[in-house]
């Protein structure tokens, strides 16, 4: 057994070196295709992440009419505080909103505005982003309430867009994974085809199929490993020098998750691919 392990290891290393052009071709194939797969997976995750972040920023604003009594304001405040779907609420007085409107309105309009014309407001965060609509419906017709605004349209649109982006990336990743597998299998097959004579001699002197197969499988394993290492580097680089907006930031765990997928695909495709590719030359 120890003999055989030594043989298999030596055979693997000499084969890798002797067929170094093929080795390089296989490693590059794995590296390039898995980099693309990894990037697609990572972008999909970042889209999901951004979607979650944007939704967390969802605000519902309950605007009180400027003429609302303090009793009406207090009733709304109590109700908002009691509702479990409301996570938190901040009250802004008429004067605070008057100051804020300065930044929204053109100077000519703002100068004729007085604080008593401006509505006071509750700025609320819903527990779950989609609860915004429920809050809106509940308070729309309360006494003293001028109107309730929720970024309904934007939320719906954003959810839709993000879903499309995610599906596109998943499909892309799957297609790339398939093409990567086929490319890797083909490269291994070519490498083994060029050595079919060697395999036939091995069969002739009475080598068992596993004896012949193992060095080829470890060879594929090493190629897959090297290729995925490069691809993992590419995924890491993408994470580090990410060119998109802040909200797309990718966490370390997302990167490592992607990299584990990349590594597994590389190693499994490499070794299983070799095992399959050599099968037809063993059947003598």
């Amino acid at each position: 057994m120890a003999n055989y392990l030594r043989y298999a290891l030596r055979e693997t290393l000499t084969n890798l070196w002797r067929n170094r052009m093929m080795t390089i071709a296989a490693v590059l194939t794995v590296a390039v295709s898995l980099s693309l797969v990894g990037s697609a997976l990572l972008l999909r995750q970042s889209a999901a992440q951004a979607s979650a972040q944007w939704q967390q920023g969802t605000r519902v604003t309950v605007w009180m009419s400027p003429s609302a009594t303090s009793g009406e304001i207090n009733t709304v405040r109590t109700q908002l505080n009691q509702l479990p779907i409301v996570k938190s609420c901040v009250f802004r007085s008429q004067y605070q909103d008057y100051l804020e409107s300065k930044s929204v309105l053109p100077a000519s309009e703002w100068t004729i505005l007085k604080p008593v014309d401006v509505p006071s407001s509750f700025r609320c965060t819903p527990t779950v982003p989609t609860d915004a609509f429920t809050i809106q419906a509940t308070f729309q017709h309360e006494p003293g309430v001028y109107t309730v605004t929720a970024p309904e349209q934007q939320i719906r649109q954003m959810n839709h867009t993000i879903r499309i982006v995610q599906v596109v990336f998943i499909v892309l990743a799957i297609v790339l994974m398939i093409s990567a597998t086929v490319l890797i299998l083909n490269t291994i097959r070519m490498a083994i085809f060029s050595r079919r004579r060697e395999v036939s001699v091995m069969k002739l002197v009475g080598a068992t199929n596993w004896f012949i197969r193992v060095p080829y499988i470890t060879e594929g394993f090493v190629q897959g490993l090297l290729g995925s290492a490069v691809a993992m580097g590419a995924v890491w680089a993408l994470k580090t020098w990410y060119p998109l907006h802040n909200e797309f930031t990718i966490g370390n765990s997302a990167m490592w998750g992607t990299n584990i997928v990349v590594l597994l695909v590389g190693v499994v495709v490499g070794s299983v691919g070799s095992g399959i590719a050599i099968r037809r030359f063993l059947d003598v």
Binding site: N3, Y4, Y7, R18, R197, E198, S200, V201, M202, K203, L204, V205, G206, A207, T208, N209, F211, V284
Partner: protein, 231 residues
């Protein structure tokens, strides 16, 4: 040692390679298989190696029916059979020493046996000095001697040779034949397919002649063709 019982083999394209061949070869015999190209000599050898299975009949080697051997046992069958071919079939990337050692490594012999046996057998075939060379650095005759060394290094019961002298000049052919005879004297059964009339005529060993897949002659101390005067 080797026994064909009514063996027939037809290839997929319909050409019959062997039809109803029955023959018995004893342990330690030296047998020439002669006949024109396509007469079935190579099929005969391929069947012995279980590279092919017969359509009909039984082939017994050392008392065992090899056609019914499960696939995973085939490598073990081949470990008892040495093979030499016209085109040498050496591994071009391995040195002479490694080529011979390979036959032992494949069957799981310990390194000490390899280190002990390989130089010995290389000495026997007269290549003791050339163990470090690659096959393409050797002459055809030398390459065939490496092939013989590889075939014999694990002392097989049977040695099959398919036109081993087909690519060699007369002098080198002589050397190879001398080696095969020497191996035969150790008790190994040798079956050799050949076109070389002179060799067969001079050796005066058993000759089995095939024609269109049938045995047309089986002579104990034969010659290549039937002498003209006899007909």
């Amino acid at each position: 040692m080797i026994r064909f019982e009514n063996v027939s083999k037809t290839y997929k394209n319909g050409t019959p390679a062997l039809s109803h061949v029955s023959v018995n070869i004893e342990k330690g015999e030296f047998v020439f298989l002669v006949g024109a190209s396509g007469s079935g000599k190579t099929t005969f050898l391929r069947l012995l190696l279980r590279e092919e299975t017969p359509d009909q009949g039984r082939i017994l080697e050392a008392g065992r029916d090899i056609a019914s051997l499960p696939k995973w046992r085939v490598p073990y069958l081949r470990r008892n059979i040495g093979c030499v071919f016209q085109d040498f079939r050496l591994l071009p990337n391995k040195t002479v020493y490694e080529n011979v050692a390979f036959a032992l490594e494949v069957i799981g012999r310990p390194a000490s046996t390899v280190q002990n046996q390989v130089p010995q057998i290389l000495e026997l075939v007269g290549l003791g000095e050339k163990g470090g060379r690659l096959p393409n650095e050797l002459s055809g005759g030398e390459q065939q001697r490496v092939a013989v060394a590889r075939a014999f290094v694990n002392r097989p019961l049977i040695l099959l040779a398919d036109e081993p002298t087909g690519n060699l000049d007369p002098t080198n052919s002589e050397t190879i034949m001398a080696l095969l005879e020497r191996i035969n004297r150790t008790g190994t059964t040798v079956v050799m397919a050949t076109h070389d009339q002179n060799l067969v005529n001079r050796m005066r060993r058993r000759v089995i002649e095939l024609d269109h897949g049938e045995i047309v002659r089986d002579q104990v101390r034969g010659v290549y063709g039937v002498p003209e005067g006899v007909l």
